[in-house]
């Protein structure tokens, strides 16, 4: 009775029941749709004028739902599709599509989300829910709107969600005219969205550097990633509350990004051991993180 991190008090089924076809999207009307490959997609060239057009065919495996959830054949379900943008605190329903048997269990969705409702990133959620109240037997779902399965796809809107906010500024303000970049991290609230806690400033006088730094496949951008990762990990290792809440931070929060970085840079290493390494051998600690990022070319 588990789905992701949630323990359901009734039988549920896996998200594979929604079929194998992925979301497709485009930000230009009447253009070819791009098919997504994983459950996280970067939307390139998005800006505040870009309406995003989305499409997906969902074909629910009705028989499996009935079998896994131990619900009577003929029960009516709803496929509920919605989107959620945490930055704009907006969640909207796209479609509710009823299904009652295996012959009538598919839906084709075509819709758009206006740019003014989005910022940074958003999720597309599909849920399979009970459409009516039914008698409960042996830990089965029984109430209308109870979820039997769900799946989520994240879209990162490049220039906003794909990376930290980046500014080109006069480095005279930092009293460091020759420095190339400055990372501003605020780790005071590890539950805050990382986009609100991190800012990358690039020296406006160093245009070639800016060009390289904003090219995600360049060596210099990897060095910036390393530096950023190191700073984030160091910030949480200095924060006792991180040790209490690690693993439980909201998605995309400073804490959850730190969790991910720690897992990538120090796989299968207990947090205490990482903190000891950080305190006792700062150089080795730094080098271990460096080894995770591609900061050289063969």
């Amino acid at each position: 009775m588990n789905s992701g991190n949630i323990s359901f008090p009734f039988r549920t089924t896996t998200d594979s029941i929604f079929g194998q076809i992925n979301w497709s999207y485009t930000i230009e009307e009447n253009q070819n749709f791009i098919v997504t490959e994983s459950n996280k997609t970067v939307v390139k060239d998005w800006n505040y004028n870009s309406t995003i057009y989305l499409s997906r065919e969902i074909e629910v495996d009705y028989e499996t739902v009935i079998k896994d959830c131990k619900i009577p054949d003929g029960t009516r379900f709803n496929i509920v599709t919605s989107w959620f943008c945490p930055n704009t605190k907006t969640k909207e329903l796209i479609n509710i599509n009823p299904i009652q048997n295996s012959e009538d269990s598919s839906v084709t969705l075509n819709f758009e989300i206006s740019s003014e409702k989005l910022s940074g990133y958003f999720y597309l959620d599909i849920e399979l829910v009970l459409a009516v109240d039914i008698p409960s037997i042996d830990f089965t779902a029984s109430k209308k709107t109870q979820k039997l399965s769900q799946t989520r796809h994240q879209f990162l809107l490049e220039g906003n969600g794909g990376q930290f906010p980046t500014y080109e500024v006069d480095f005279g303000h930092f009293d460091a005219r020759d420095a190339c970049w400055h990372l501003d991290l605020d780790s005071s609230d590890l539950h805050s969205n990382i986009l609100n806690c991190a800012r990358l400033y690039l020296n406006i006088d160093k245009q070639q550097f800016i060009k390289d730094a904003t090219n995600s496949s360049s060596l210099i951008s990897n060095i910036i990633y390393w530096n950023t990762a190191k700073n984030i990990i160091e910030a949480v290792l200095e924060n006792d509350s991180y040790f209490e809440d690690s693993g439980n931070y909201p998605e995309n929060s400073f804490g959850s990004i730190a969790d991910t970085l720690v897992r990538i840079c120090f796989p299968a290493t207990p947090l205490e051991s990482i903190r000891n390494l950080y305190r006792e051998d700062r150089n080795k600690f730094s080098t271990k993180i460096l080894g995770t990022f591609e900061t050289y070319y063969e």
């Binding site: 505040y48 704009t88 605190k89 329903l93 003014e116 940074g120 849920e127 709107t145 979820k147």
Partner: protein, 302 residues
Amino acid sequence: MSRLLYPRLPNHFAQELAKSFEDKNVKELSDHHNSSHNEASPSSVGGIPVNESVLVELREKVLLEVKSMGFPETANNLAKQDFDYKIGKLLHKNLNICIGEASRNEVWSFIGCVLMPDIVSWRFPSNQKDRFLGGGRNTFQRLWWRANALYDKSDNDPYHFLKLPEDALVQIMERPNMMSNWELGRAIAKETEKIVQNQNLPTPKDKFWRDACKRIGQRGPIFSYISMSIEELSILAEECFMESLNSIPSYFYYIGDQKKQFGPFSLAEFKKAIADLEPSKTFFAYKGMKNWKPLNEFNDLS
């Protein structure tokens, strides 16, 4: 009508300004305000950059309101409550900003640190940085978002939910997963309003809406709130608030001239306990009630 784009003040500069405000008073910050900043500029796409004269006009409108509340003299609690309602309403009516733009902390940093730092300091005299900086605690950002999310078009005053106690509004607004479904937020606000207005309830009342919000949050992973109708969401909110009323121990009773008092009971336990007692010989009270009352005056809240 095209939406307006406001100047965005990068965090680094906003931090510097907010830090420099720490030891300044309202008068000093009034001298410090401006309608532009060298490092602040609007996004290059997505709407029309706001004209400086619009910013000046906005400041004047806000000033007019706060002066009627006693600005720049020290604000009392009543004036602060008044501020939250009236300025929330004013910002929501006048900013003409889309939610994408309103989600940018840099926009609110500009308003808090550059355009109206004196008004921030009047509302929050301790001059804490986060009241100037963009973020959930920014003086103006929190009010605009409350007004936007809790706007109740079915009421003569669509902004009436802004009059709810601060703690209740925080409970509603600071649960983004739940509140992003604005219909649900309004359903919770409506139930909270009933609690606030009900004179026959134990006090303090904040425990009821806190408990109810937790209950609604706990059901979230199991039920699809987004697929519920407004009526279904209202029933859900009502049920959770009723469960809270029924479960928090706040009621007491004593019988006749016995000195022993029984309780505290939750409302549900209390009703069960008094079921067989003689109403004219039993007296009851709940937390916050000054005097015992005969049981036949008990008002069954359910």
